[in-house]
């Protein structure tokens, strides 16, 4: 891995860390991000990026847009994309020098309510991630024009291997309100989660089992269908039983399958 590719991978990682951070842990990742985009190897490009820009004036103009209500302040980005990128770089460096300002900056310009973590996530989504994407393009294109060795590998590693997309089915909360009635129901969400965990264990066991590649594919397809049934919130007893019984008759697999079956059948419709 070249040093440039390695640098962009670390920048990408710091963005992923900020996405998962809370208001208590955000600062550390933000400072890492700021330090990485000011790497000495990028000094000449950064100087070129910020030449002639006045961050103080930009912040002063932006603060002047604040009305009487919270959430009305707007950052007055210039029309020119290159200048916007430069101002963002300066802004990130300024906040890194005074990280105690991060929360107030986020709550002034990226307001989502009275929740600091959400506001920092809003800052990450709307400022830092787009900046990371545009900055990488700026560096790569600048180095290509100047003929310097520039690794075109994307920070997400896409030049090395095809990205494995995650598909995630989201289901409702199964929360309920009862008006004029008594609730005797079981919380199926907990059952669903337990079944999902067992399904993952089952998948792992299938991969470990002494089966041919074709048998593993077939077994995985069966598990996919079981998972779809669970995800639907209304798994059918007859369908789930038939699917699970069609799995390879290996003890570890049948034991896990029985656990899933017991979990679902005890709590869902027949």
């Amino acid at each position: 891995m070249t040093s440039r590719e390695n640098l962009f991978r670390r920048i990408n990682n710091s963005l992923l860390d900020m996405q998962a951070a809370t208001s208590q842990t955000f600062e550390q990742h933000f400072l890492t991000f700021a330090r990485l985009i000011a790497d000495p190897s990028l000094q000449a490009l950064n100087q070129q990026l910020v030449i002639g820009l006045d961050l103080d004036q930009f912040l002063s103009d932006s603060l002047a847009t604040q009305g009487s209500m919270a959430g009305t302040a707007r950052l007055t980005w210039p029309v020119d994309a290159h200048e916007t990128l430069g101002l963002k770089w300066l802004l990130i460096q300024e906040l890194a020098r005074e990280p105690q300002r991060l929360l107030s900056f986020a709550s002034t310009f990226y307001t989502v309510g009275r929740n600091w973590t959400r506001e920092l996530h809003s800052l990450t989504r709307q400022l830092l991630i787009p900046f990371g994407r545009d900055y990488k393009e700026f560096v790569v294109s600048s180095e290509e024009v100047s003929g310097e060795t520039s690794d075109t590998a994307m920070p997400d590693g896409s030049a090395q291997h095809t990205a494995q997309y995650v598909t995630y089915n989201i289901s409702g909360s199964n929360a309920r309100v009862n008006n004029h009635s008594v609730d005797n129901s079981v919380n199926k969400l907990i059952v669903n989660q337990a079944a999902s965990n067992q399904i993952q264990v089952l998948r792992d066991e299938i991969q470990r089992a002494s089966l041919t590649a074709e048998q593993k594919i077939e077994a995985t397809e069966v598990v996919d269908e079981v998972e779809r049934q669970v995800g639907s919130g209304h798994p059918k007893k007859s369908v789930v039983s038939a699917l699970l019984s069609s799995l390879p008759a290996i003890q570890s697999i049948t034991t896990i399958a029985k656990t899933i079956s017991d979990l679902l059948l005890a709590n869902f419709h027949k």
Partner: protein, 97 residues
Amino acid sequence: MVKIKGLEALQKTLSEAQKALDSVNGELGTLSFNPEDPASIEAAIAESERLVDERLGSYAGNAIVGPLISQMKDAYRTAVVEKAAEARLKGEAADDE
């Protein structure tokens, strides 16, 4: 005859909440994202928020449903970020093999 206005309002709130929560039972939608790409992850989170707003947005003023909207969005955000982290770890483990 004494008219209890507060009770009527409470019943209306409960009735609305019943309708709202019925609309988010079962599957809400499918998200697809590249676990290595922060922008792709954010897009998936934004899509989950849109799905919640689509079903519950019109009940945002309801005293029961309003807080639930924020809780659901937070829960889906956390779930997407965790799924992405899990997929990255699996990818790294596979690369090491």
